[in-house]
Symmetry: D2
Subunit: 348 residues, 4 copies
């Protein structure tokens, strides 16, 4: 089958001779991919930021499609069902899964991401077919009145933005700041609006991203030394009630701690990886802050989000800037890496 | 001054010689009324449903205006401040007020409602001036960018609809049914939408009310024996996640218990007064329901609502069907009582 | 095998020739019973209150034991594992189960209770062996340091009392009233204490039950016309913050509405079955009450409760008044029905 | 009057000629002190850790006593009332106070702490008399059946430990680790037990503190490199559900992040003051942690705590190791500073 594989930094290649995956266990399903997407997370191996990433890995953890085949232990799904996969692979049965915390699953994994998350590599969705472990937990049926592209984002970026806003405890009337207006930040913004935020401050250094946020109801703001001051000017001198951080670098998180009001919450969906961010604990204690880290959990939130999308409260497809055939996926990575694309969707 | 007084059932009269109220204690303020409104609650004495209502009572508990004079013990307010009054009068200091439950205040009252609520009658807002007890608790400043008519509804119906939705624990994605699409029901609908309801089912026997709900995003439904069935058909067979009841009669509440899904919540903002509603406890136990009674609490929720209105997330003025000079308030009562008006605003 | 069967009102019989159950499906397990108990719920068919109860039904929904055999689809359990069963049978997979609401499961059942709950009868635990459907959801492993009799109650009465207190939203410092000091009421009392209640008022007409409650930290109170007054005298004039109702008849629930304070919560774990309890909605609205019905959900709460029991925070075995061989189960029913026993445990 | 004043590091002195304070505004009260205490916070100026601390400052923010005189604007208090003061001074009226967040009050202060917190110095409670601003907010009546020494701790350390546990969201059955078993840590432990923790792990390098924790139900643990491993061994391999940090230095907070389980909460009541704690954001993100800073808020929690103490659920006086006349307060500071005293109470 056709699939995109990672070979080395900046070297991803589509080939036609990747073997079609087969069921490996009773809880597996094989899904024929209808749409997949390139995620910011995919850029880490692309840019060579992940040492030891295995050459030949089929990438991609955002995909939607049709069930082709099910193992004997998969309940509730049948060949022909339209489904969207959770980017996070979870068993659905361990203590953590029973709490609804799938990213902490004892058998957690991430499609197309080698063993960076979890111990077992699972080939990804930038392909014509994908093997899905724990299929009845990882896959979710898609109703007829939700399109493939709408469903696609419930498997990752919309779920991540929503999880971020939910863990930020956005309440009606809140002024919410979103740091970083990439796809996840934009979904966090939409989620905050859904939860009743009176205003969302959309902070990003890139004008085109601020513009997109603005079109969708955000108040665009450039980062800068005086950001806290500007935020206070918009919030009766207090600061943002909630900050949703969607960048994942120290500077963004430190800025979040500055602009949030006393007793506020910073919810960080950015994939932080620092070992020693210089944390101002005096500031955080004086303001009695809550700092919460939020990995998107599509399995936990997809039922709600499917209803939200179905009824038109959020249409996440507005972030799509490019649709390319899977055969042109290499170009898709280049576009996304260069910042020229907001979101690239691949069509097998 | 000019004011409307209740004299007998269906006999309310505007006169010009009602004495202008004066400060009676250090926590009082006198407010010059800029807008007031007729509320469904006012119809109870109008229709003669309240035995012993005192003739001569100046009615009206929805009003906004300008502070004319303040007692020495009123902090945070000055003559000239634009303000909206809470319909509920509360001291702000007793155990209940400290919990944020102002309707349970040990000195609770309701403007223009004699001693139906609380032990002390306080003249109402269908007048040019009103004396406001506990002014720093009862009054709230209105920002420049909120109009008088927008603020007006934060003092009662918007706060009531919002409190109803809040106590109904509406969550993003929920399907919410609103029983009764009068002004409070419409505000409950708007509040449920603000909180992320994927869909609001707007139930009312009157076509024009359903139409108004529909224009504002509700799915109109007629009541009827098969209502529960129709609701289940719209909700994957389960029933509404939350029901917001805004009528206040047994039939409406019993219907709510029917159409809510198992483990759902019925939040009743209708002013129930039955001593023996025939409650189906077997049904409620089998479905593990929550039934919650919700009196609107403007003091508790007005900060949030002011932000929501200010940023345009909700504009409550859409319910206004008539604006009349205070001199024509008698006609206003007739219009509202007859069902020809959705909401009547009076201009002194 | 030996088992107790219901034949007619007041006619239950132990016989030795009931067939040992076998696996019927891949998610079944067969459990060898080590301890079972007689529950108040069992008294309904015993007393002939349930029309059409099927003669020959093996009763009993409280039991703990050892896994004898597992179906191929049962994960996480092995023959030899010590387990406690949830009284509620649930599939673990449907929409309701995914929300954690197992009593609403689309395939719900209750051991030994014919088809009173759900559509499929499943033989009960007053027997040497029981077939357990959906075994990996219904059964829970028992740690070595929890005894069989401690575990036994996590499968029903402790879980029910705890669920009742949890849904009552007991908070630290609350004064909690428990209506009915039978086994479930006593477990509700213990749960309220665990959650930090400053005081538990234990209301029961039977002196011996009040005494038992008193020994375990409750303040004993007799019911009566002046109960509300006596409760207010103990609560600064306000009423109980939370009422946990564990009787299941109209009078008990109506009394709960009287004695709870304004803005309080009544959580009813009693198995209500009225079609027309005369509900005072005027009172409930004026006090802005929450009324919540709570069916015990062992599957949802057993992880927490196992830890609580293991660390000695609650030892539920204090309610055991009688231990009898299974062969003497008929006497066990007589003792319990007559009120001479608090809780009867059966040993196969 | 007699009072203790700070003059220089390690130089605090009792003198008899400090002027008795007088009312300065209408919301002031003067309290005759019956008991005060030395708090860990007092050691910062004592040890010279606070630059610019004003010589002559009367110290002490933990005190209970009797109202001597009230300003005209103080409601609800009368001379002769037994009261306990909140250590935090707050106006009770600003936006933050209305949210119940008194430490963020626009006029916040701390008794006897110069202008370290807030902009206005207020003389403290290591004295015979204290002037209390915003008296009706800062003071709370003490019921007859609560002793002076019990009430004393509701004004600071018990409230701080409780706030820490509350913001840690301790739930029934949780395993809670307390880092630092000084007075605040011990109160956090008691609060966690009150909230239903199945076990509290009490971590402290000092054997006598661990012993005291152990006597009161904690599981004593020494800190050390393998602490996380030992905690996991006690928690089914997961880590503590909640960590309550009561030290206030980087190492303690970093250790907390290590020993908390994935999806757990670290609530820090220690007075952190670092500008650059080396925060492992990769660890925190991977575990999806919540980190929350918790300043004690006696005003917010004292109603509950008074009930808890009154009913004997917690008796905070067990931490008292020394009772000294105010005249010997200098010795009290020496004892406490040297670690020979757990808690020193001063009797004027």
């Amino acid at each position: 089958m056709k699939a995109l594989s990672w070979h080395a930094p900046y070297d991803v290649r589509v080939s036609d001779d990747v073997p079609v995956p087969a069921l490996e266990g009773p809880r597996d399903a094989v899904v024929r991919v209808v749409r997949s997407a390139v995620c910011g997370t995919d850029l880490h191996p692309y840019r060579g930021e992940i040492a030891g990433f295995t050459p030949g890995t089929v990438t991609g953890h955002e995909f939607t499609g049709v069930v082709e085949e099910c193992g004997s232990g998969v309940h509730g799904l049948r060949p022909g069902d339209r489904v969207v996969a959770s980017d996070v692979i979870a068993c659905g049965r361990c203590w953590y899964c029973r709490q609804g915390w799938h990213y902490q699953c004892e058998q957690v994994g991430l499609f197309g991401y080698d063993t960076v998350v979890g111990r077992t590599a699972v080939a990804g969705g930038h392909a014509e077919y994908v093997r899905v472990p724990f299929a009845d937990t990882v896959l979710s049926p898609v109703p007829d009145d939700v399109t493939d592209e709408q469903a696609l984002f419930i498997g990752d970026i919309l779920a991540t933005g929503y999880t971020c806003a939910e863990r930020g405890e956005v309440a009606p009337g809140d002024v919410v700041a979103v740091i970083g207006c990439g796809p996840v930040g934009l979904m966090a913004m939409k989620s905050a609006q859904l939860m009743g935020a009176s205003r969302v401050l959309a902070v990003d250094p890139v004008a085109s991203r601020r513009d997109l946020a603005s079109v969708h109801g955000g108040t665009p703001l450039e980062p800068g030394d005086d950001l806290a001051e500007r935020v206070r000017a918009l919030t009766d001198g207090r600061g943002a009630d909630v900050v949703l951080e969607a960048v994942g670098v120290d500077a963004a998180l430190l800025s979040s701690l500055e602009i949030v009001r006393p007793r506020g919450t910073v919810s960080a969906a950015g994939a932080h990886a620092s070992q020693a961010m210089p944390m101002p604990t005096g500031l955080a204690f004086g303001k009695e802050l809550t700092l919460r880290f939020a990995v998107g959990d599509p399995i936990a939130v997809r039922d709600r989000l499917m209803r939200v999308v179905r009824e038109g409260r959020i249409d996440p497809t507005f972030v799509i800037s490019h649709r390319l055939p899977l055969a042109e996926a290499e170009e898709g990575f280049r576009l996304f890496d260069s910042g020229r694309a907001t979101k690239v969707v691949l069509v097998p």
